[in-house]
Symmetry: C2
Subunit: 243 residues, 2 copies
């Protein structure tokens, strides 16, 4: 990406009012959290492979809602549909309903990346910070309370009854706060999410999360010129934004 | 109201998971805040009468949405419709659009009652605390950020696309958190709100706010037997709930 000139960075800092954060992978470590919980609960299962398989089912499940095959369905229910399909492969068919319900809520118990809580506290002093996640409101609230994520407001696909990358979600954040799209910045570790936000007129900040898929599968986190900002983590984003 | 026996209070404390708070009048002082801002901005206007007149328009405006005469309309827009109708009476026709927009957002700048912030911090240690207000999400977020209200989640009529006392709002809180209605307690300074919540199966706590309509117009805050709890303020509620 082109480095921002001091004047364009100043303009960006002055115009941005709301920072909306993607959650899974960007603020919390879904892979590590699920892997660790599986190791504790069901040590015979390959926790890393299990976490990856669960997450692989995520986009296809949301696609069933987007296409209309399923009516509006929350992520909690989609996670459970995917989980039920994984039980045979991972030799978990012996789990009873209570154990399955508990396991499904591991997504409410995901742990923050080490910089997330302190970085968000810094950003919150200057900006309104909110989630913009496909996770449902209850999941995001339970997660924030447990992990200490200091959101000013929890926004979710559930509020807009549409899953990212539907424009209704990105534009919904701007409308919620009576702002123009360029006054909202999406902060995410995924270029497709940022691309869709930018197409709606939002500013974008890429957050590197090289180990989103585990330490053994580092992902490419090279900068892309199309994003307004590129930050190693949320502390680095706070540095860039002068917080 | 009948005093709760120790065992029924213990049962209440054990089963309640979420405390949902009404906002206008219960957590923030709309009358005093608007009166003080009017005194500062437009000292020739009777700020108390102006605040009361604005609030009087509130229920009829929402009734226009409930009846279908208006499509879904946020409180920000309803407040503006009411405000526009008050300008002649209060000799404010000279205000320009920018001044009107600023004045309309006084509802985003309402101040908390003196016990609200500290009381909510106490309750938050043991319960999930959220708003359940007819105010819109942006209004409630701006208010919370400015006043320091430490919500775990901001819920609003805007999320459920229905205004209290529609059952969709009370039951919506329970559904958001995958709870049974009796695991949610509505905390409010208005018996009609509490009655509607109770009809949906929620627990209810009445919060006394004798000066909601100003020091010169104290309201009757006597206990009603139908509520589970009756508290002088939010600190007293925290005392009752053992926080």
């Amino acid at each position: 990406m082109e480095p921002l000139t001091p004047s364009s960075l100043d303009e960006l800092k002055a115009s941005t009012q709301v920072l909306a954060f993607d959650i899974f992978g960007t603020v919390v470590d879904w892979h590590g959290s699920i892997m660790r919980e599986m190791q504790a609960l069901y040590p015979s299962v390959d926790g890393s492979a299990f976490a990856l398989a669960w997450r692989v089912g995520y986009q296809p499940a949301m696609a069933r809602v987007r296409s209309g095959e399923l009516g509006w369905t929350r992520i909690d229910e989609l996670h459970r549909l995917i989980l039920d399909d994984l039980l045979l492969k991972f030799d978990l068919l012996h789990l009873n309903e209570s154990e399955l319900a508990h396991l499904n809520r591991v997504w409410h118990r995901l742990e923050a990346w080490p910089d997330s809580v302190a970085g968000l506290h810094r950003l919150k002093k200057k900006f309104t910070i909110c989630s913009l996640s496909n996770g449902n409101l209850g999941l995001l609230t339970n997660m924030a309370k447990r992990a200490g994520l200091p959101w000013d407001c929890i926004l979710s696909a559930e509020v807009f009854r549409a899953y990212k990358p539907d424009p209704a979600t990105y534009l919904g954040v701007a409308a919620t706060f009576d702002l123009q799209p360029h006054q909202v910045m999406l902060c995410a570790a995924h270029h497709d999410d940022l691309d869709a936000a930018r197409a709606c007129g939002l500013r974008t900040a890429y957050i590197e999360r090289p180990f989103e898929f585990g330490a053994s599968q580092p992902k490419d986190v090279s900068p892309q010129a199309s994003n307004d900002l590129h930050a190693r983590d949320i502390h680095a984003l706070a540095d860039l934004l002068g917080c």
